[in-house]
Amino acid sequence: MATKVHMEALSPTMEEGRLVKWTKHEGDAVKSGDTLAEVETDKAVMELVARADGQLIKVMVPEGTTVPVGNVVAWIGKPGEKVDGAGSGEQGAAASKPAPTAPATPARTQPAASPTPAAAPADATRVKASPLAKRIAKDAGVDLKLVQGSGPGGRVIKRDVEAGATQTQAVAPAPAPRSPLPARSGAPYEDVPLTQIRKTIAKRLAASIGPIPHFFLTTEIDMERAAEAREALNKQLGEDGGKISFNDIIIKAVALALVRHRACNAWFQEDHIRYWNEVHIGMAVAIEDGLITPVIRNADMKTLSEIGAEARELAGRARNRRLKPEEYTGATFSVSNLGMFDIDQFTAVINPPEAGIVAIGSIVAKAVPEGDRVVVRRRLRLTMSCDHRVIDGATGAVFLKTLKQMLENPLAMLL
């Protein structure tokens, strides 16, 4: 039976390769290890080598084509052996046909491959990964499809998942003191190579805004009573205890609102939606040259002081790049707060596979009508970004309504 030649991952980060030139042509004899083609990766032009002996019986991809890693680009087999020379778009659908002269052996014939939609390569949904790698990835919330496998046959193994999860940590050393910008030395711009963390941010966020159908819901919340509650609680805590911030109150309220609206506490998983019963809140933290979202686990079950202490501790270590991978992965929903920068209102980008994130603006005193009078109240504008594949407009709106009620009447959190 003929052997498929796949586009291989010739560099650790390669996701697709451009077939520059076939060095072997249909009909050429090939031996395992022979160079079949030159492939341009994200890094360099590399050689694609044969993994089987025989004849190059079918070339599926013309020169100059860019092909995702894992797709079939050619077939190696016995001279005269036939493969279904389906168009290059129909990846994975090509099945070897029994030679016409062979006696009919129905039991051995390949089941007819079901026609695969041209856009979806057959391999795209199946990830080869070791059981251990799958468990670690599941726990850490790592999407195995985004992990480059280094095991046999490109299989994802433990090392790959761990490397993926710690990439930002491992590659980026403690931030070096920023070199002062030259004061108008004449250069109109400076090219700064992307750091690994910046690359990851770029990849993750582009992956978010691109395929995810975002929509946004904004609401204005009266924070007067939350502010009063905060002042009272901080007085109670005295000088020794850490202070409770608005952010802590918002995290707690979001977590409790999610418990009531599980529909928003979910991960989009390509062929299914995972609704979480646990509530883990990712908290965006700005760090030197980037951002990271440490996770407050089971935030719905923690007290405000616990959330406050944990948030401060995680944020501190995040800034020093001392977070462990399990501390910044696995969130079920996120909160991003730019209130301290005097931003009234903004929209945050969803951190996939989560389905939602709330963006917190600054709390400002505003004149608002109350009955017939105009009063000054502390108000907060909050915007939720939703992944429409998981959360519909009304679903997001009822969640926000609960959140708003909790923040406007903090006692409601005790219900």
Partner: protein, 462 residues
């Protein structure tokens, strides 16, 4: 002068496999061997000892056979006969390697090879040329401990080389070193009626194995009447014509051990002398092994080292794999890297001891969050049937993800059973996949499934 793609120094396990794999990949290969093909393993190591251990097993079995309803009266043992059989087994294996060399059209050059700069190998007065690479696989040899007066004299102070060729057994034997070699010979000679004393410097016998494994074996040996002294220091050795007197210090006590002979089963030295390494710029490590990188390349381009000379563990199967991998590297392939932390370790004494991965002590040292699952063969139906209820299976799993950190088997056929765990670890299966695989009943291997379950807190048969 002849020219080959690859010239390999040494026809032991690492060397001959390297030659075969090279030939499979279309390279012309030559093996330089001064003695018999197959090296220590085939001729004076793994293979003949396994033959002798089986003789020992039969002797022990017959002594206990009455209980099984088979009475063998006046069982006599003759080491000379067992030895000759073991030689035939070794010769068959060595001939087998010769056949494999012919089959793959590999040239075997008789003599001692010396490497020279420019990828050349001198054998006698001939100089051969390696077009692609020279591979050094010269192996290792036993060494005595001359510092305490125990230099191998081949009569009263012997090594395994002599022990394997004895016509008659001595009345008593002191074995220095309780690693795999020492424990296997203790088992063999005890079954042939020799009074045995095993002396080990480290605190436990089989010091590299899990403490529970060495304790179980230690108990088993003592029960059979083999004296085992661990944590012992030989302070003085008085080597006479027909006996050796050893002054031994252990646990603060002094003791004299008198034996007709001493078997040195401690330590091996690698064969790196007089083979031209220095002249080629091939450096050694602090411990005397040839310094190699990840791809087993030495400090000189074009010269590779594999097997015992390339570093521990000094095991034939580690050499096999290095031989195959180096051939693939030379042929321009990118082989799967060798996982040195997944090399099984086996001692073929009775009961057998086999292990892979970390010991429980290492898990503790590394502060790993682990759970130990254990299942004794005394609760295994098959083991009860054959009367081989000594020992256990122990699996150490990572608490969070179930990764198999290490596995230890003491018992009959442990050497055959360990591979289930080697496959599991190589493929990153967790204890749950071990359990999911249905184990045939009744088999000793069921104990592996049960140990996996025990680590998950759901053992069924205890």
């Amino acid at each position: 002068m002849a020219s080959f793609d690859v010239i390999i120094l040494g026809g032991g396990p690492a060397g001959y496999i390297c030659a075969i794999r090279s030939a499979q990949l279309g390279l012309s290969a030559a093996v330089v061997e001064q003695d018999k093909l197959g090296g220590v393993c085939v001729n004076i190591g793994c293979i003949p000892t396994k033959a002798l251990l089986h003789s020992a097993y039969i002797a022990t079995l017959l002594q206990e056979s009455k209980e099984f309803g088979v009475e063998a009266s006046s069982v006599k043992t003759d080491y000379g006969v067992a030895m000759k059989r073991s030689r035939r087994v070794s010769d068959q294996n060595s001939k087998g390697v010769e056949f494999l060399m012919k089959k793959h059209k590999i040239t075997v050059i008789k003599g001692t090879g010396v490497v020279q700069p420019g990828k050349k190998v001198k054998v006698g007065s001939d100089v051969h040329d390696a077009k692609q690479a020279v591979v050094i696989a010269t192996g290792s040899r036993v060494k005595g401990i001359p510092q305490i007066g125990l230099e191998i004299n081949k009569t009263t102070v012997i090594s395994s080389d002599e022990a394997l060729l004895l016509e008659r057994v001595p009345d008593s034997l002191a074995i220095i070193g309780a690693g795999a070699v020492g424990m296997e010979f203790a088992d063999i000679f005890h079954a042939f009626g020799v009074k045995i004393t095993v002396i080990e410097a480290l605190p436990r016998i089989l010091p590299l194995e899990d403490a529970e494994a060495s304790d179980t074996l230690s108990k088993s040996y003592r029960k059979r009447g083999i004296e085992v002294i661990a944590g012992a220091k030989v302070t003085k050795a008085n080597v006479g014509k027909d006996k050796v007197v050893l002054d031994v210090e252990a646990g603060g006590e002094k003791k004299q051990v008198t034996a007709a002979a001493v078997l040195m089963a401690a330590g091996r030295a690698v064969n790196t002398e007089n083979i031209g390494l220095k002249e080629c710029g091939i450096q050694l490590t602090d411990r005397g092994f040839i310094k190699v990188d990840k791809n087993l390349l030495t400090t000189a381009a074009g010269y590779y080292a594999i097997g015992d000379v390339a570093g521990p563990p000094m095991l034939a199967h580690k050499g096999f794999r290095e031989g195959a991998v180096v051939a693939e590297i030379i042929a321009g392939q990118k082989p799967h890297p060798i996982k040195y932390d997944n090399v099984p370790s086996v001692t073929y004494c009775h009961p057998e001891v086999a292990s892979i991965g970390l010991t429980e002590e290492q898990c503790k040292e590394k502060k790993l969050d682990y759970v130990a699952g254990k299942f004794p063969f005394s609760a295994n139906g098959r083991a009860r049937g054959t009367g081989e209820t000594e020992g256990f299976v122990k699996i150490l799993r990572d608490k969070k993800y179930g990764e198999i950190l290490g596995a230890h088997i003491v018992g009959a056929h442990a050497s055959e059973m360990i591979h289930e765990l080697a496959v599991a670890r190589e493929n990153e299966y967790t204890v749950e996949e071990i359990d999911l695989a249905i184990h045939a009943h009744p088999t000793m291997s069921e104990a592996i499934g049960e140990a996996a379950l025990d680590s998950l807190g759901r053992v069924l048969h205890i």
